[in-house]
Symmetry: C2
Subunit: 195 residues, 2 copies
């Protein structure tokens, strides 16, 4: 599908907005700052987006929609539970590496969403967490995973990948692929070598 | 050692300060708020502490001193590297459970420390991370750990326990001990059951 000029412009505005929100915070970013960053007059930027709220909404829901749709796809795959959790961990890392600013905004600035979108966003996150937890639970039941507390395992895995957001920059001597493999080794296989 | 009334008062002020900094942010907390919370006149509170900066300093360095001294103790223990990493993970979780507000301030508000204490704090953190990383590295060399990238393993483990700060409340149906055991199982043993 060819992207229209209009779509390209809108995506550019969203990408710059995510960077500014990440660096200066949602409250600390003005539409004037954004227009300056994009290299447009504020007035003509309003042909593409209606408000700062709309930008935040688009960024947060693009990320949560990605998680939700990828989860559905992974749930449907004919792979082991271990394969599914690996795919989810990989998804988190890839999103942070490829779309770091947007992920950061969805992780931190979602709380500025106005209602009813705030509740919808929290609902989407909860539903994602439930789906992720259900895969861990099924993996334990199938004997693939150790019999750990499901909530603890879920939050440990979700939290374990969060540092990538702050730390990873291309050229830190590690490819995204190596990063993924190493994190998955620790979380799925464990730091300890089996006796 | 018996604590003097003076020391007890100071500790009370520090504990309330940590809670306020955590809830309202360092910038959002005034000395007047704090005096109200402690139930003292602002003027008499200044008999115990000099400034908001001094409170932040005491909270941050109490936490970083705890990490540094515990690390030294763990390094000196005659246990396996696996035992040492378990002890460090346990330390992180225990500090969050027992002194959550102070840990949160040391994790987030350290950036408001004035120089030269800011640099000293960063130095202390770096030195702690280096010591932690050296234990992982030695464990790999000794064949106890899988041959993972040391920095990735370090940040994955440190990040993995951070959710406890946000999530754990006594009475969430899980004792601190169960929390520790489950997190250690995931990080050291891995989610997967060894084939």
């Amino acid at each position: 599908m060819l992207k229209t000029k209009r779509t390209v412009k809108r995506e550019l505005i969203l990408a710059e907005a995510a960077k500014l929100f990440k660096d200066r915070g949602y409250g600390g970013t003005s539409m004037r700052d954004l227009a300056g960053q994009v290299g447009m007059e504020a007035a003509s930027m309003y042909n593409h987006i209606r408000s700062k709220d709309e930008l935040l909404d688009s960024i947060c829901f693009r990320i949560s929609d990605t998680y939700i749709s990828q989860l559905a796809q992974i749930q449907a795959q004919a792979t082991s539970y271990s394969g599914k959790i690996r795919a989810l961990v990989r998804l988190h890392i890839q999103l942070m590496v490829e779309d770091g600013a947007a992920v950061s905004v969805a992780n931190h600035d979602w709380k500025y969403l106005p209602e009813p979108r705030l509740s919808e966003f929290k609902q989407a996150r909860k539903s994602y967490e439930r789906g992720f937890a259900a895969l861990i639970e099924a993996g334990i039941a199938a004997g693939e995973f150790r019999p750990v507390n499901v909530s603890v395992a879920l939050f440990t895995v979700l939290s374990a990948v969060r540092w990538v957001e702050l730390w990873y920059r291309p050229g830190r001597g590690l490819t995204a692929e190596e990063l993924e493999t190493n994190i998955i080794t620790v979380l799925l296989g464990g730091l300890e070598r089996p006796g």
